[in-house]
């Protein structure tokens, strides 16, 4: 459990997360100085929590690929929202819900966690559980080919994180 110190003797990951969280706080509070009284302890607690729960070695995203990914994500969020709104607006709610197993090719870690969260925001799908390397999805309509959509999402997350597909497939 406590091997993380050996993997990262300089603790640079902690510093980076500290700086990122501090910047977030800075924007959220509109640079209000007295807010740091609350912010600083929260940030320190978050960094400690992050250090203790972090899974395997972290990947970092390719910033160059972030705009394309964001555009794709926004478009699908819009479709997902409209899908739910449309189903709710119909005189009779038409749903054919059920669970689907999706075998993940991404290794455990940041990228996988990110994918699991992204899937919940895609149209019609919700990440219910991860059992080993299988993602258990809940879908609003099991007659739709969800598999292809999640495959596409996984490919995009893989590319965003700059992970070599051939390594993850092995």
């Amino acid at each position: 459990m406590h091997t993380f110190k050996k993997n990262n003797p300089a603790g640079s990951g902690s510093w980076i997360s500290f700086v990122i969280l501090a910047i977030l706080w800075f924007f959220l509070t509109e640079a209000n100085l007295s807010s740091w009284l609350v912010g600083l302890p929260c940030i320190l607690a978050a960094v400690v929590a992050y250090r203790r729960t972090r899974l395997s070695s972290g990947f970092s995203i390719r910033l160059k690929r972030l705009p394309a990914f964001s555009a794709w994500f926004l478009w699908h969020s819009l479709k997902g929202g409209i899908d739910v709104a449309w189903r709710a607006a119909k005189p009779r709610v038409r749903l054919d819900p059920g669970f689907i197993d999706y075998p993940l090719t991404l290794p455990p870690g940041q990228a996988r966690t990110f994918l699991v969260n992204v899937v919940s925001l895609l149209p019609g799908t919700l990440s219910a559980d991860v059992e080993g390397n299988v993602l258990v999805l809940h879908t609003l309509d099991i007659t739709v080919d969800t598999h292809a959509e999640i495959d596409d999402a996984e490919r995009r997350v893989t590319s965003l994180y700059g992970i070599d597909r051939s390594v993850t497939d092995a």
Partner: protein, 97 residues
């Protein structure tokens, strides 16, 4: 800018309303989580974008967008936790009966 901002906010309110209607009309816990994670996030995103357009300062605009991203992160993780817990307790009940 101001008019465009109001349009975004109005659209956001509509999505919040539809999300709430979906929450009431959808049949079970899992389908209701779909309503929360999708319609409400989109609604909040549109309200945040609308407010950002009217903010008048880049710092404030960035703050609204940041709030959206953070809430989205929280709602995706929370709905995942609720779904997982519900699924596990359902499995337990089936094993007992």
């Amino acid at each position: 800018m101001a008019i465009l901002g109001w349009l975004f906010i109005a659209a956001g309110v509509v999505f919040f309303l539809m999300g709430t209607i979906a929450l009431l009309r959808f049949p079970d816990l899992f389908t209701r989580l779909h309503a929360l994670t999708k319609a409400d996030n989109l609604g909040l995103g549109m309200i945040a974008a609308g407010l950002a357009l009217q903010a008048g300062s880049a710092l404030l605009a960035l703050k609204f967008l940041l709030i959206w991203v953070l809430v989205m992160l929280a709602s995706a993780s929370v709905s995942h936790l609720i779904a997982r817990t519900a699924r596990h307790s359902q499995n337990l009940r089936e094993h007992k009966s």
